[in-house]
């Protein structure tokens, strides 16, 4: 068996969950901890098939609390550790990820969004945006990549490990059931062959030497006695998060100059939006799009720049205003009208977006 799971690169046709498992392997992930929930199950299933060939480990835990906390343990031991979940599992995952946030533990979590609230559907939604960006009893000091294709899933799963270990904020790959389950073409590759250097890992606990003699003991905690002590830690973390945000932020934009309509969408819905926008632009409409790739930190200045040139905005998402709230927050003070196409828990086609866009461009819809 070769030492590298992927030599060079090759084009394959696979599900998104499979692409995630291959990406984690390619990124040199050491161990996955996970609990079954649809639609992310095949990530574990492929990992447990591929992993043993490369001495990779897996632990199936008793629930997502345990999956998250064991992942934290794996990271503390200095390993590239990750987990994956969805829906109600993502709700439970917020407890461990709030600890990861508090202690700057570089966990990687892949979220395959399903319908919500509660059990809802196992199929698809974009309703875990608020939860993934701001879940937990904290300030949302985390990185959230919203993928829109299998290539994104592969690329950003690799990138998530590097972002997490470089900046030490918990990092999420936010995808959905459509991307998880459908098959499409994707180029999988050895990161090194693309010039991507994996950020090295190091143990937080169990370093060489005797604590108290050769080195100070690691005393890691998330509890503080007084308010000011907490504020000091949080201020430092917030300052660092804001300082590195410009390096982390990613977005995609098209035709934003003086657009009559700027469509804002993320994830798989962005693909429908892009198709609709390009079709209408080809027909001569002054229409563009803006896609935040990082939902946390959010490309605030870039969106403001595009939005203030637009006559109106259209936010499209498979949720009832979760991206919308983030957009409104980031555009505060601009008086460009924001229109919406909100379909919680269901997919949105390019035709639906084009129809809505045309109505708005014709001034037929308020």
């Amino acid at each position: 068996m070769g030492s590298k799971p992927i030599e060079g690169e090759r084009k394959v046709f696979m599900t998104g969950n499979e692409a995630v498992a291959w990406a984690a392997l390619a990124a040199g992930a050491d161990i996955m901890y996970g609990y079954p929930i649809t639609p992310q199950n095949e990530i574990m299933q492929y990992w447990t098939r591929l992993g043993p060939k490369y001495n990779k480990k897996f632990l199936q835990t008793e629930d997502e609390l345990s999956a998250g906390f064991t992942t934290i343990g794996g990271v503390l031991a200095g390993r590239r550790a990750f987990t994956a979940t969805a829906g109600p599992g993502n709700v439970l995952m917020q407890e461990p990820m709030s600890m990861a946030e508090a202690m700057r533990i570089p966990t990687v979590v892949v979220i395959q969004q399903r319908g919500g609230p509660s059990t809802a559907t196992v199929i698809y939604s974009q309703q875990e945006v608020t939860l993934t960006c701001f879940g937990g009893n904290g300030e949302g000091l985390r990185v959230v990549y919203s993928t829109s294709s299998h290539q994104d899933l592969f690329d950003y799963t690799i990138k998530a490990f590097n972002t997490a270990w470089k900046y030490r904020f918990p990092t999420f790959v936010l995808s959905d059931g459509y991307q998880a389950k459908m098959r499409e073409s994707v180029v999988i590759y050895d990161p090194e062959a693309r010039g991507i250097r994996m950020v090295p890992t190091e143990p937080f606990l169990g370093k060489a030497g005797t604590p108290g003699e050769d080195r100070p003991a690691a005393h890691l905690r998330n509890t503080y006695n007084i308010e000011e002590e907490l504020l000091e830690v949080l201020s430092k973390d917030i300052e660092e998060y804001e300082r590195v945000a410009p390096e982390i932020i990613e977005y995609d934009a098209y035709n934003t100059e003086n657009a009559d309509l700027l469509v804002i969408a993320h994830g798989v819905v962005f693909r429908s939006a892009a198709m609709a926008v390009k079709e209408l632009a080809n027909q001569g409409y002054k229409i563009g799009y803006f896609r935040p790739i990082t939902l946390r930190p959010f490309p605030r200045e870039q969106l403001r720049q595009a939005a203030q040139q637009a006559k109106q905005l259209l936010v499209v998402e498979s949720a009832y205003g979760q991206l919308l709230k983030i957009v409104q927050d980031n555009l505060y003070g601009l008086n460009v009208p924001i229109k919406t196409l909100l379909r919680p828990g269901v997919g949105i086609t390019p035709e639906e977006i084009a129809e809505k866009a045309k109505a708005l461009l014709a001034g037929k819809e308020a």
Binding site: E62, S66, G73, G78, R79, M99, P211, H219, T223
Partner: protein, 252 residues
């Protein structure tokens, strides 16, 4: 002339900078951690131990030792320690928790780690109350015992019986596991149990679990005499002391 100070002998693995420790006067945690510290010294494993502590009073041990330590969430020390051990089996990993953390909010983790025979050591301090939060009923509160949420005494018809942790763990644990209940009132025996538990992990035999009967005079609202009587005489009536599972089956 300087006053002559008599310093108590501390285990080498203790962190002198955090002493005197932060537990209440009369609390049993210090004794359990003393036993653990002596065991770490005797086994000469200070450089290999990773200690995890839970929420509740046990969190006050986050800087107790000169060993690498992580303080986690309520009930979640077991999975964090499992995750560490799975990722780096060279480490000797100890999960330290109270009865609430182990038997209530984190009971699924204790049960499943025991059933998987995860090669870690869990030490659970049973003082019959949620102490850090002010003395509410715990899974281990004794029948008729008064707490802040059972002000008229624990009515077992309403609230169930105290959780028998080592009995449960021994029932589900597999060959190779070590399970015992000790007491701070029998220090040397408690230390022996903790030592055997950690040696069990070092031998790679699997899950080891020690419950330590302990004191909480602050929340029991007892004086020294009554505190000691409760832990020495009353608690063992419901929580029998001894070994519940020993590899090879030779319980003490």
């Amino acid at each position: 002339m300087e006053a002559k100070q008599i310093l108590p002998k501390m285990p080498k693995s203790w962190n002198p900078a955090s002493k005197p420790h932060k537990f209440c006067p009369g609390c049993g945690h210090g004794l359990v951690l003393k036993a653990l510290g002596q065991v770490i010294d005797e086994l000469n494993i200070q450089d290999r131990v990773v200690f995890g502590c839970d929420i509740g009073c046990s969190l006050l041990s986050w800087d107790f030792f000169n060993v690498d330590t992580v303080q986690t969430h309520h009930g979640r020390t077991t999975p964090v320690i499992v995750g560490i051990k799975r990722a780096n089996p060279e480490l000797i990993t100890i999960a330290y928790m109270g009865d609430g953390g182990g038997y209530a909010i984190g009971s699924q983790h204790l049960v499943n780690a025991a059933n998987r025979n995860d090669n870690i050591t869990a030490i659970l301090v049973n003082n019959t109350v949620y102490a850090m939060t002010g003395g509410q009923m715990a899974p281990t509160t004794m029948p008729d015992q008064k707490t802040e949420t059972t002000p008229y005494g624990r009515d077992i018809k309403e609230t169930g019986y105290p959780m028998l942790g080592p009995e449960m763990v021994a029932a589900i644990a597999h060959e190779g596991a070590y399970v015992a209940r000790g007491s701070i009132a029998k220090f040397r025996q408690l230390k022996t149990f903790i030592k055997k538990a950690i040696e069990n992990q070092m031998a790679g035999r699997g899950f080891s679990f020690v419950e330590a009967l302990s004191t909480c005079p602050t929340n029991w609202r007892t004086n020294a005499e009554k505190t000691w009587d409760f832990v020495e005489n009353i608690m063992p009536q419901y929580f029998p002391i001894g070994e519940y599972k020993v590899p090879g089956g030779k319980e003490e």
